[in-house]
Symmetry: C2
């Protein structure tokens, strides 16, 4: 298996740093053109990449095609965002002798890129959270250089995606080294430890992510570790919604937890519902699940982990198997069931992630306090409520906001659109930060603010010059000013 | 000496959490009224507080008066800021079936407060970075509850400021426990370790701050530790500026490094200048310093640390004493001098903070590369350049931006205005984060984003409802929308 040597990794880090220094001051339009060049190259090589991805990950072609399209779209959206200057948070306070606390000097602030960023790709999204996924795209958009550690689960795809991206960047005029890939554990550790690396983007397991977070925090100079470590994603169904829409809800549930063979970090792993009988309930679920296509999991290692986690949950006293999957190479989905009393007694049951096509139903008794049940949960990427529009679920929503990064109403958490308002994050252990790894807000994670105090116009960076040469939106003396309308 | 017991601290933490839960959803105007009530109370009790502060800190009355005025202004500015909703980052993406990567659900994001925040006051700013200083004001403005650990250096002032603030909050209708104070080391450790505490704001020493940062990062659930740990604040004078304005620059330098007896975290501790003779140079500095009033340092502990640091720097081979202070209870200022070659050989000399009225001049030879010298520096809160407006100092400015949070042009770093554009932060060891502890941007440190996916209007929080009941500025489908004009 390909492994990048330590010497080679160090050389790439030095080259990334030198590329960062060359590229740090290019205009937003130049940087945007680099992102667009990568997008165009991925589009051009789409068939080839999907072909490799299918072989390496067992994911189906349509899904892979959608994921690649999403990654390409993301690069283009981020390119637009940086041309608008939204990531810069440009703020200007002119000198003000009558400022309330005493005379104010001229002070202006904008964000600057951090430097070299190490990105760890995830196994379960070989495009969207991998080599040219959200972390890489946002770090490059921020103005950083990226060394990407390819996930072992799709090494060939990672290498090929990396080559295509590097060629596209070079052809577009970006300095060599601005983006590169490494493989293997030794390189991974070097990324987290090396003084030239200023931040880490990571998507992966809680155990692995926490170990790297600890390393990043213990460095002589600690660095931010933006880790997305996974989530169980509880779903709460109110009694009213259950009475009115049980069948529809269970159909959605079955579709969501089996999507991508349940290998989504937003897979709904818990369903709190007022289940008062199991015969009809099991029948609906069995019918819904019968039609689902199955495939092998991403890797034999993940499969082993899934089998173990499923067995561990099933072995809990008070947990029963409602729909039994199987142990074929392409496993059929499993549904387990327990009671609210069981999880009240042993809330640790709510923290066991079964990464694959399995989920746990928690039947609650009529009149149960859903916000009290929700308060047993750990931090989550998402929480979902199925309720009627006029129901008073304020207390439940308050707890779910406290526990999660995204709250979903009468829909399903799988599928995370890339947009301005998206937030893909959440309290620990869902992530190790208060930031998002999806959407335009992800860009500024890889930047830091710098204030310029009493500078003459000619010495200011363009983003902060009075003449506003980049034509970006800025806050001036407390008021936001719109840029003049753009051509096109 | 007053020490809060462990039981009492735990009780205050529980009470803070319960107050946070009661107060989390109040309108921005209600919360703003609470901040304004504290501001008015501090104003009302100003004379009493300054009297206590003077006795406990040896700082002069004018300076203390200004510091209190600044803290009061800060509370009012933050009150305005939250009424405008600037801290919420409210973003709305309506459902869009033609979104580039595939249909987009309705998704909306706003920031919510973190919960209970622990704040550690600094000794050197008994108002501005203490009980009702920037960290407390920003955490309360964010919607958090605060338990403030009073600095031992001004315990009586801290307790009295706390009482005044608590009374004002209660009288204004805020829930009991939203703000309280503790004292002593045991309480300090409880703040950092307790599961109910969701973030720490800290201003203090590098050693103490790093130890607490390590604790915060090693918790089962790590929390952000916003630590401002200090800085040496280098000043670079170009040959041109030196030739034209040596006397003026040295006068400014002498004023800045002795301000508040040199006990500012933005004190200019290093001056890089093309010193080619010492006689006239020493004479100018001696004259400038002769007129400075002196006072005892904040505490005997700080005084001991200052004497040690000064002795340590003076003992370096290649460092000479240019202006000798003295060892009186109110010590006169000291100026040390060395050469660029010495710091090139032993750059660790640039990392020794002398917290008090002392500074180190680094004489460089004609033609020296200032950006190369700057690259020897560690992370800083501020860096300063004295140059002529049309000089090309781009390389130096690039390095200083990389090394510091605020770059000052032909002015002095002491004095940090509270405004929209201010950034008081900087790379480690200046701080442990990429955020600011001064200015309106400090508020959102104590918040995290939550996305609401597919919610009906009636179930959305007010900040995200289409009707915009709080009348705040929001980004809607990628475009920023101004609120309608406010009355008043």
């Amino acid at each position: 298996m390909t492994r990048t040597s330590a010497d080679q990794t160090l050389e790439q880090l030095a080259s990334a740093h030198s590329a960062f220094e060359k590229a740090r001051s290019v205009t937003p339009s130049t940087r945007a053109a680099w992102l667009e060049a990568v997008a165009a190259a991925l589009e051009e090589h789409g068939d080839e990449l999907i072909h490799i991805a299918k072989r390496e990950t067992h994911l189906e072609e349509n899904r892979l095609g959608f994921e690649l399209k999403r990654s390409i779209f993301q690069l283009r959206l981020f390119a637009e965002e940086i041309v608008r200057g939204e990531n810069l948070d440009a703020t200007i306070d002119h000198a003000d002798p009558s400022w309330g606390m005493g005379p104010r000097p001229d002070i202006r602030r904008a964000k600057v890129p951090l430097g070299v960023v190490g990105v760890f790709g995830a196994s379960n999204f070989p495009f969207a959270f991998s080599v040219m996924g959200g972390d890489t795209a946002s770090a490059l958009a921020a103005g950083c250089a990226v060394v990407h550690k390819i996930h072992d689960g799709h090494l060939e795809l990672g290498l090929r995606t990396g080559e295509i991206a590097m060629d596209a960047l070079t052809a577009a005029g970006a300095p060599v080294g601005l983006f590169s890939t490494v493989a293997g554990r030794q390189s991974a550790e070097l990324l987290v430890e090396h003084p030239l690396v200023k931040a880490i983007g990571f998507t992966g397991s809680t155990a692995g992510g926490r170990a790297l977070f600890n390393k990043a925090s213990a460095r002589p100079t600690p660095i931010p570790f933006y880790g997305e470590l996974g989530s169980i994603n509880p779903v709460f169904v109110t009694e009213q919604a259950w009475a009115l829409r049980k069948k529809e809800i269970l159909a959605g549930y079955a579709g969501s937890f089996t999507m991508g063979m349940g290998q989504f970090c937003t897979k709904p792993g818990l369903l709190f519902a007022p289940v008062n009988e199991t015969a009809q309930f099991t029948q609906i679920l069995t019918t819904e699940l019968a039609g689902k296509q199955v495939a092998p999991l991403l890797s034999s290692r993940l499969r082993q982990g899934f089998d173990q986690a499923l067995a561990e949950v099933a072995a809990f006293e008070g947990v029963d198997v409602l729909v039994k999957g199987n142990e074929a190479e392409a496993p059929r989905p499993s549904v387990l069931i327990t009671t609210a009393d069981t999880v009240r007694e042993r809330p640790e049951l709510l923290e066991l992630e079964m990464f694959g096509p399995a989920t746990l139903v928690i039947g609650y008794a009529p009149g149960a306090n859903l916000s009290e049940l929700a308060s047993l949960l750990d931090g989550q990427l998402t929480s979902t409520v199925h309720a009627e529009p006029d129901e008073n679920v304020a207390d439940l929503l308050t707890v779910l906001q406290e526990k999660s990064g995204r709250v979903v109403w009468n829909a399903w958490p799988t599928g995370v659109t890339v947009s301005y308002a998206q937030h893909h994050g959440g309290p620990y252990p869902a992530t190790t930060s208060n930031t998002t790894s999806v959407g335009t807000a992800a860009i500024s994670r890889f930047m830091r603010p710098v204030a310029f105090d009493s500078f003459p116009e000619a010495q200011l960076p363009p983003a902060l010059q009075d003449m506003n040469p980049w034509n970006i939106r800025r806050r001036v003396d407390g008021q936001w000013e719109e840029p003049s309308r753009r051509a096109g």
